[in-house]
C-alpha cells in the first residue's frame, strides 16, 4: 500500500494498520481467528500477536494478515447454504424425533 508521506513527522500520530491474528493450538487443530492487533509491519504484528494472544503458550503457530487484504463473504452470499428456509424443516436435527434415553 503506497503512502505518499515521507518520514520526519509527516505521517503524524496516525492509527497503525490493523492485522487479523490466527493461532494454532498445540493439539493438531487448525488455525483459528483469535482477534486483531495494530502494528506497522508484519514482523511487528507477529510480535504483538504473540504477546497478546499467545503469551500463555496456547499456540504453536501464529499467522498475521493485514485486515485490508481479507476478502469476506457477505451474509447474503451464505444464505442458500446455511440458512434453511422455513419450508424445509427436515434439515434441522430437531425434526427427527429420537426415543428417550438415546444419546446422539
Amino acid at each position: 500500500m503506497a503512502n505518499d508521506s515521507r518520514g520526519n513527522g509527516a505521517s503524524g500520530d496516525s492509527q497503525w494498520p490493523l492485522w487479523e491474528v490466527f493461532t494454532q493450538p498445540p493439539n493438531g487443530a487448525p488455525h483459528e481467528h483469535a482477534g486483531s492487533v495494530h502494528a506497522v509491519d508484519a514482523e511487528h504484528a507477529l510480535q504483538n500477536a504473540r504477546d497478546v494472544y499467545a503469551r500463555r503458550n496456547e499456540a504453536v503457530s501464529i499467522w498475521v494478515v493485514p485486515s485490508s487484504v481479507i476478502t469476506a463473504s457477505t451474509p447474503e452470499d451464505m444464505g442458500p447454504f446455511f440458512d434453511p428456509a422455513n419450508d424445509k424443516p427436515y434439515r434441522h436435527p430437531q425434526f427427527y424425533k429420537v426415543p428417550r434415553g438415546i444419546r446422539m
Binding site: G9, D13, S14, P17, G35, V37
Partner: protein
C-alpha cells in the same frame, strides 16, 4: 455505508428479522444487518468496557514496584498485563463495528467517554491488591459470565477469553486476602481496612437499579445483557459474603441479613449519591486517572509517529513508482 444505516427509521421487515434472530439465540456478526441503535449501544458498551480495562491498570499498577515478595510481584505484573490484553481484545471487537480505536481513545482522553467508576478509587495499601482481585474482578466475572452469551459475536468471544483469565485474578486476590487475614495483627487490620473501603464501590459496579438505568431495557431486549443489574448484584453478594466469613473478615454492612426463604444475603442501602458523584467526575481519583492516561498518550506520541514514519519509508521503498 448501506442505505439502511442512514435512514432514521429502521426498515420494519429487517428489524423484525433481526429481532427474530435474537429470539432464536443467533449470534450477530460484524457484517450482518443490525439496527443503528444496536450498533451504537454496542459501540458504547464495548468501548466503555475497554476503557475500564485500560484505566484499571493504574490502581493496581501503583503497587507493582512495592509488592512484598517476588511471587506476588510477578503475579501482579501478569494481572495488569492481562488487563492491557483485555482492553486490546475489546477495542479490536469494537473496531468490527466500524469505529477506529484512535477515535475511542480520544474520547476517553477528552473525558467524553465513560469507564467503570470503581477505578476512581485510590489503592492505599498492599491489601487493596487483594481486595481488588477478590471484589472488583469478582464482580466483573459475574457480569462477564453473562456477557459471554451476548448476542454480538465479537463481544461474546472476547468475553469468553477474558473470563478464563479473570478467574485466575480473582483467586489470586482472594488468596492475598486469606494470607493477610491469617497473618500478623497488622496484616489482618490491613485486610479488614481494604474490605471496608472496597465493598460498597464493588456493589456499585453493577450499576444503578434497572429502573434508574436508561440503557438496561434495550440491552435486555437485544440479548446483549440477559440479567438485570439488581439480579447480578445479589448474586455477587451471596457469593462474596460466604467467602468473607470463611476467612474471618467482616462485611462493612450493619444491615446485612440472611433471608432463609429467598436464600439471599439482603444488604443495606447503597449510597447512590456517592455513585453519581463519582460517575460525574468528583471521585477521589478521576482527575489523576485521566491525567495519567493523557500523559502516557502525549509522551508516547513521538514513538507512535516514529513507527508510522518507519513503515511509510519501507512502503515507499517497496513501491517507489506508485503514486
Amino acid at each position: 455505508m448501506p442505505a439502511s444505516e442512514q435512514r432514521p427509521q429502521e426498515d420494519p421487515k429487517r428489524l423484525a428479522e433481526f429481532e427474530a434472530r435474537i429470539a432464536r439465540g443467533e449470534s450477530i456478526e460484524p457484517k450482518d444487518w443490525m439496527p443503528e441503535r444496536y450498533r451504537k449501544q454496542l459501540v458504547r458498551m464495548m468501548s466503555q468496557h475497554a476503557h475500564s480495562e485500560v484505566v484499571g491498570m493504574l490502581p493496581e499498577g501503583n503497587w507493582i514496584t512495592r509488592a512484598p515478595n517476588l511471587r506476588r510481584k510477578m503475579a501482579l505484573l501478569a494481572k495488569v498485563q492481562d488487563e492491557a490484553g483485555h482492553g486490546l481484545y475489546i477495542y479490536c471487537g469494537t473496531e468490527t463495528l466500524g469505529v477506529d480505536r484512535q477515535e475511542l481513545v480520544q474520547q476517553l482522553l477528552d473525558g467524553t467517554a465513560k469507564y467503570s467508576s470503581i477505578f476512581n478509587y485510590p489503592t492505599l495499601t498492599w491489601a487493596d491488591m487483594g481486595a481488588i482481585g477478590w471484589l472488583v474482578d469478582g464482580a466483573a466475572i459475574v457480569n462477564q459470565t453473562m456477557l459471554a452469551k451476548a448476542s454480538y459475536g465479537p463481544y461474546a468471544r472476547a468475553m469468553v477469553r477474558i473470563c478464563k483469565e479473570e478467574n485466575f485474578h480473582k483467586r489470586q486476590g482472594f488468596e492475598i486476602m486469606t494470607t493477610l487475614a491469617s497473618g500478623t495483627p497488622e496484616q489482618k487490620a490491613m485486610a479488614q481496612d481494604a474490605l471496608d473501603r472496597w465493598w460498597w464501590p464493588s456493589l456499585m459496579m453493577f450499576g444503578p437499579s434497572d429502573k434508574d438505568s436508561p440503557n438496561s431495557a434495550e440491552l435486555l431486549k437485544w440479548r446483549v445483557k440477559q440479567k438485570s443489574n439488581d439480579e447480578l448484584r445479589q448474586r455477587f453478594v451471596n457469593l462474596t459474603v460466604a467467602q468473607a466469613k470463611a476467612i474471618g473478615l467482616e462485611i462493612p454492612d450493619p444491615d446485612l441479613q440472611y433471608n432463609e426463604e429467598t436464600e439471599d444475603w439482603e444488604f443495606g442501602p447503597i449510597d447512590w449519591d456517592e455513585f453519581w458523584r463519582v460517575v460525574k467526575g468528583d471521585g477521589p481519583c478521576n482527575r489523576e486517572r485521566l491525567a495519567a492516561r493523557r500523559q502516557a498518550h502525549d509522551e508516547g506520541a513521538w514513538v507512535r509517529e516514529a513507527a508510522s514514519a518507519y513503515a511509510a519509508k519501507r512502503a515507499d521503498e517497496r513501491a517507489p513508482s506508485a503514486a
